[in-house]
């Protein structure tokens, strides 16, 4: 049996090519059906995301043949000549396939290392294949192991710590200041793409109370309606500032619209509870001196970008430790897979010896017709015990050999010694 993967990712191909080879979610079932028609009895999973298209197959055919078939399948499925995408493909076999899948699931192969989305996507791809009955024992086992390795990588390292996009950094910082965003008030001053993106991210994290401050009443009310917030006229900003736990400012004002004094005044009625101010306007809306106040945390665009860059760097430093866990998981899985190789031989050995036992037992029992039922049972039991005892040592030795090294040589020898048939 060979476990192979053929795929392409953001590392090997431009987005134009990935788009052409992408399988929409609704078409994956059909694709699996087509793939399994080509390779009868194959276990298969198709993983198709915006950054990668990968086809995992487990089949008895030699790996080169499987690679060829998968390439042809991709070419037919997308009506694209093989030559156009072949240079971008990577093709792995057995151990390399396992290692690759574990790296992908652990988000070590992602464009943004440590991102959380990929594990869900791999999981969905596997569930879809499972629902189409396209998985087999090996495919199921390798994907289950991939999920457990990915979880281990996340829980035992800091690979997912710290966000790496500006809007998610802002949300992350809000979470590190406030215990629960659901009971916090978000104030948005002005409008702007980044501001709205951050607003959406914060709402998705549970913020319920939103105040929209805008000089333009129409614009403000529209945005407030969009996020079920309340519009506050711009000239009431000073009087309502104390209500804001999180403040996003992105106006086009030429100078500062909020000074340290404004925040100082706002802190008193709120019992000095902290305010997290995000100034994403250029030029800035909030005087940087505000950050010197106790219980006020001010971040501008550059600060958020700096945090995002630092987080990315910190994640990169974690990769070596993550790779150790991936390698450990790969080794464990390959041992288990090697153990599976000896299973048919063990079954054959057992069948062969038991056939001899039954043959010889029948002869013996025939020559001893005066035996009672109990004595016949005793002799049958004895014969079984002898065969089992003889089999015990070679069976355990075979399993051990398989786990420690390539078992093909010893398997060949055993088959010759016991006169067993060569399995395909």
């Amino acid at each position: 049996m060979s476990l192979v993967v053929v795929g392409l990712s953001h590392h090997t191909s431009p987005i134009e090519l990935r788009e052409r080879l992408h399988f929409p979610e609704t078409e994956i079932s059909h694709a699996l059906l087509q793939l399994r028609k080509r390779m009868d009895g194959a276990g298969a999973v198709v993983l198709s995301t915006c950054n990668r298209v990968e086809t995992y197959v487990n089949h008895a055919a030699p790996p080169e043949e499987l690679h060829r078939e998968i390439r042809a399948f991709l070419s037919d499925a997308h009506q694209l000549p093989e030559a156009e995408f072949r240079p971008a493909l990577y093709e792995y076999v057995d151990r390399d396939t396992v290692g690759h899948l574990f790296r992908v699931a652990s988000s070590l192969d992602s464009m943004v290392v440590g991102e959380n989305q990929i594990l869900g996507q791999v999981h969905e791809a596997y569930l879809l294949a499972q629902s189409e009955q396209a998985t087999d024992k090996i495919i199921s086992a390798v994907f289950q192991k991939a999920f457990s390795v990915a979880k281990e990588v996340r829980s035992r390292t800091h690979i997912s710590a710290g966000k790496v996009s500006v809007s998610s950094v802002a949300v992350d910082l809000a979470v590190s200041i406030f215990m629960d965003l659901a009971d916090k008030t978000l104030m948005v001053i002005g409008s702007g793409e980044m501001g709205e993106l951050t607003l959406k991210s914060l709402i998705s994290k549970g913020v319920r109370r939103v105040l929209i401050v805008n000089r333009n009443r129409e614009k403000g009310e529209a945005l407030a309606a969009q996020c079920q917030g309340v519009y506050v006229p711009f000239d009431e900003l000073g009087a309502t500032l104390h209500r804001a736990d999180i403040l996003i400012s992105s106006t086009a004002a030429p100078g500062f619209i909020l000074q340290a004094d404004d925040f100082q005044r706002a802190l008193k009625p709120r019992g000095n509870e902290p305010i997290f101010a995000i100034d994403i306007a250029v030029p800035r809306d909030i005087d940087p001196a505000v950050n010197d106040l106790d219980n006020v945390y001010l971040y501008d665009v550059d600060d958020l970008q700096k945090v995002a860059d630092e987080n990315m760097e910190a994640r990169r430093k974690e990769i070596a430790q993550c790779m150790e866990l991936v390698d450990k998981g790969t080794e464990q899985f390959c041992r288990w897979m090697r153990g599976l190789i000896v299973e048919p031989t063990i079954v054959s050995m057992s069948t062969e010896l038991n056939a001899i036992r039954e043959r010889e037992l029948a002869k013996t029992l025939q020559s001893l017709p005066d035996l009672t039922e109990k004595q016949r049972d005793e002799i049958t039991y004895l014969s079984k015990r002898i065969v089992n005892t003889i089999l015990q040592r070679p069976m355990s030795q075979l399993k051990q050999e398989a786990v420690q090294q390539d078992p093909h040589v010893i398997l060949h020898l055993v088959k010759r010694l016991f006169g067993l048939k060569e399995s395909p």
Binding site: H158, S176, I177, F178, G271, N272, P274, D294, A314
Partner: protein, 286 residues
């Protein structure tokens, strides 16, 4: 002899576990996420061994050992339990990185104190001191001390987290620690539990000293220990009430609690070293 050796083994092994726990916490800081639980278990193991060594001493000498050494042990045990309780919820776990090293320092001091007390027969308590009032008095006061101790370490975590936010250094431990709001609430909760315990202890002590004038001497209120306790009550009263009414919150409160506790601790150590108390529970009243 055997019992003394066993007592020594239990005690020093317990202290060893306490000293080992921060090493695992440091491993956590260096990226090993799974090392905090073993660190907590080591501290709990240490606590168990300290209890066993205390029970052995009690058994060996045939009387309840009440010495400064046992008081410090009680303080460490209670601090450990509070620390474990506080860090039970998942986001609070990383606070162990602040608690465990502080506990290890207390254990190092304890090892020094043990050299003088561990294998020496504890003095018999005066008859008037034996009974429930002493148990409640000492139990509550050390519970309050332990709560204040853990609060002061929580305040260090708050200052750390707050400084990192202000300076935009948000990598490493920053992501593992709970939110500022959660740290602030924990800090307040620890003070709000410790403060009433401390006040109750003081009231029991005052009533006791008044009801039994021979117990602590005629001028018990002049004892530096009593004066220090009064200062502590005043200090934690200010901390508790200013936080309660939102006058002092966040970093300033954290600084206040930390420096307040450490200066009070330092003062009480100096008082103990200079033997300035007019009374103590482990000798005869002067």
């Amino acid at each position: 002899m055997f019992m003394k050796v066993l007592t020594d083994i239990f005690f020093y092994l317990g202290m060893g576990l306490y000293l080992l726990a921060p090493v695992l916490a440091i491993r956590f800081l260096r990226g090993s996420n799974g090392s905090l639980l073993p660190a907590t278990r080591l501290a709990l193991g240490g606590a168990l061994l300290v209890v066993l060594s205390f029970l052995l001493r009690w058994f060996t000498w045939g009387r309840l050992p009440v010495t400064p050494f046992d008081a410090l042990n009680l303080f460490i045990l209670l601090s450990t339990l509070i620390m474990v309780l506080v860090t039970q919820p998942e986001p609070m776990r990383a606070l162990q990185c602040f608690y465990l090293p502080a506990l290890a320092i207390m254990c190092l001091i304890n090892v020094g104190v043990a050299l003088r007390y561990l294998n020496v027969a504890p003095k018999e308590l005066p008859v008037t001191l034996r009974g429930l009032p002493l148990t409640i008095h000492i139990g509550l006061i050390y519970l309050a001390y332990a709560l204040f101790f853990v609060a002061s370490m929580t305040s260090v975590a708050y200052v750390f987290q707050s400084q990192r936010l202000k300076r935009r250094q948000t990598s490493g431990l920053f992501h593992q620690l709970p939110s500022l709001e959660q740290l602030d609430r924990t800090l307040y909760r620890l003070i709000s539990y410790g403060y009433p315990f401390f006040v109750i202890t003081m009231l029991i002590g005052i009533f006791w000293a008044w009801a039994e004038p021979k117990l602590l001497g005629e001028q018990w209120w002049l004892s530096p220990k009593i004066i220090l306790s009064a200062v502590m009550v005043a200090f934690y009263s200010v901390s508790f009430h200013t936080r309660r009414f939102g006058l002092l919150r966040g970093r300033k409160l954290a600084y206040f609690v930390f420096f307040g506790f450490t200066s009070l601790l330092a003062t009480s150590i100096v008082l103990a070293l200079l033997n300035l108390s007019t009374y103590n529970f482990w000798g005869k009243p002067s």
